[in-house]
């Protein structure tokens, strides 16, 4: 890639060098961001693995409890137990920025209360389901966080690579070219001056 509107002047060269310095700083910053994103992503993935294992265990336990209770009480009783639950599960989400990445954060998870409401037979199942629902919401939040983080990492990586492989080399190349032209011009100037001096000297001696 070559820059357009290039002028072979000292002023333009100085301006280009200043811009190149700025781009290199930006590249360093983006590299730092990329590293930080990598660290965050690795940490988030670890947390995700842990939480997912927990949720899987909880879901298994809920299903086991449900099967046992279903087998013991029968379908009709089990079906009617849920009728006493008032309200629904509600989740409030707010966007939050973590190292420039916007992620959805669950502000509060409201699970309908079953205390003082359910017959004893169903309470352990209700408790376990309630914990599972809360953790499922947390898992969804973490999943969204990882997705956004990964997307941002991908974009940052593209930017870093673009700066490293295309923008900076083309700037450096242009600087080198202008520098070369200017150097040639300066050499030309010196030789021209030397020739003028020689002509002048020859005129005096003659």
């Amino acid at each position: 890639m070559s820059l357009t509107g290039v002028r072979y002047t000292k002023g333009f060269l100085l301006d280009l060098k200043r811009r190149l310095e700025f781009i290199k700083d930006a590249h360093d910053l983006l590299e730092m961001k990329r590293d930080q994103l990598m660290i965050e992503l690795r940490k988030a993935l670890e947390r995700f693995k842990e939480l997912r294992r927990k949720v899987e265990d909880e879901a298994e336990e809920v299903y086991r409890e449900l099967s046992l209770l279903h087998s013991t009480l029968g379908s009709a009783d089990l079906e009617t137990y849920s009728a006493y639950l008032k309200g629904r599960m509600e989740v409030k989400m707010i966007p939050r920025s973590v190292i420039g990445v916007v992620i959805p954060m669950l502000r509060e998870i409201h699970i309908p209360d079953y205390t003082n409401l359910y017959p004893p037979q169903i309470i352990p199942l209700a408790e376990k389901t309630s914990t599972l629902m809360k953790d499922l919401a947390k898992l969804a939040e973490l999943e969204a966080y990882i997705e956004n983080l990964a997307e941002d990492l991908r974009k940052t990586n593209i930017r870093v690579n673009a700066l490293e492989k295309v923008v900076i080399p083309s700037y450096e190349e242009t600087v080198r070219r202008i520098q070369g032209v200017l150097d040639d011009e300066m050499l030309e100037e010196i030789i021209r001056l030397k020739q003028i001096k020689e002509i002048l000297m020859r005129g005096r001696t003659a």
């Binding site: 099967s67 209770l69 087998s71 009480l73 029968g74 379908s75 009617t80 006493y84 309470i123 408790e127």
Partner: protein, 329 residues
């Protein structure tokens, strides 16, 4: 006449499935195999059309109700009166189910599916209750029944209403005790007392185990004229107190402590079965044997239902067997 009823119960008892067969059924892996294995028994015809676990449950309920309703045909008037009142436990169970479904605004068709045909057991017609527009209409309909006390109550928590239904039921059963032969009364009362003890114990452990309000738990206790009184029960504060006061219910209490409500449910029936079986020989030609037969029918119904559902959930064989209500070895 009562002798005829007792003889009938002995005869019918031979049609109950043997322990070995129940255990065998619990080891089957498919619902089709379960239906096939029962094809040569009394369940055969009803189960022949069953395609799903729900169909199996419905067929089992039909047979169970048939068995109980048959007894009414052979009962002398006094005993019949007692039995009808005793069978009202299924009516109460139905009313509780309807009440819950009304609170959830479920349609009539859904409610009809989960109802035990308790009219065949001498109970009232539940159709108007199922067709009630809403929960308020359901409660107002109770005013014309034995449960009229509930229609005058103003409570928000449906658990209290459920409990009131049970309270009215047990009061009615204790009132009708005079209808059965004098010799059997203490034993029948004792069994009812055990039932109520187990219910009250479970309720009174709610605040200890699940942080329920103590006043609510207090209002859910049912007076037990044949077991531990409410006052005595309310003095118990910790699990140790419960275990000390009810050593015979240790397994039941331990299941509750582990929060294994399903196991507590099984233990509940095991305790009752043990209690009834203990009197089996001495009460061989008494009315008490009729009660034993009724409990045996319910145990078989619950065992078969449990097997069908656990096969449906693909639970391991050892777990399935653990869900059965079998007399302790």
């Amino acid at each position: 006449m009562i002798t005829y009823l007792i003889c009938k119960c002995h005869a019918y008892e031979s049609k109950l499935l043997p322990r070995g067969m129940i255990l065998e059924l619990a080891s089957l892996s498919k619902l089709e195999e379960f239906i096939e294995a029962l094809s040569t028994t009394v369940y055969g015809q009803s189960l022949s059309e069953a395609r799903s676990v729900w169909d199996v449950e419905t067929a089992l309920t039909e047979i169970f109700v048939d068995r109980l309703s048959t007894l009414l045909r052979f009962s002398p008037e006094n005993v019949k009166e007692f039995l009808i009142q005793y069978y009202r436990r299924f009516e109460v169970q139905n009313l509780i189910r309807i009440m819950r479904m009304k609170l959830a605004h479920e349609p009539v068709e859904t409610i009809e599916e989960i109802i035990i045909p308790s009219e065949r057991l001498g109970g009232m017609d539940l159709d108007p209750f199922m067709r009630a527009r809403d929960f308020s209409e359901f409660i107002s309909l109770l005013s014309g029944t034995v449960y009229k006390k509930i229609s005058k109550m103003e409570v928000e928590n449906p658990l209290i209403l459920e409990n009131m239904l049970r309270w009215i039921y047990y009061s009615g059963v204790f009132d009708k005790i005079s209808k059965i032969p004098r010799d059997d009364r203490p034993d029948v009362v004792k069994i009812l007392g055990v039932e109520l003890d187990l219910h009250n114990l479970r309720v009174w452990m709610l605040p200890v185990l699940y942080g329920y309000d103590k006043r609510l738990a207090e209002s859910l206790l049912i007076d037990n004229p044949a077991g531990k009184s409410k006052r005595l029960l309310m003095e118990l504060r910790s699990v140790e107190d419960f275990l000390e006061e009810f050593p015979r219910y240790r397994v039941f209490i331990e299941a509750l402590m582990r929060r294994e409500e399903w196991r507590a449910e099984i233990e509940h029936f095991k305790i009752l079965k043990d209690e009834v079986d203990r009197r089996r020989i001495s009460k061989y030609i008494n009315f008490f044997y009729v009660l034993k037969y009724i409990l045996d029918c319910e145990v078989e119904y619950r065992n078969l239902r449990s097997i069908a559902i656990s096969i449906h959930h693909n639970l391991p064989v050892d777990v399935r067997r653990g869900l059965l209500i079998l007399p302790r070895a």
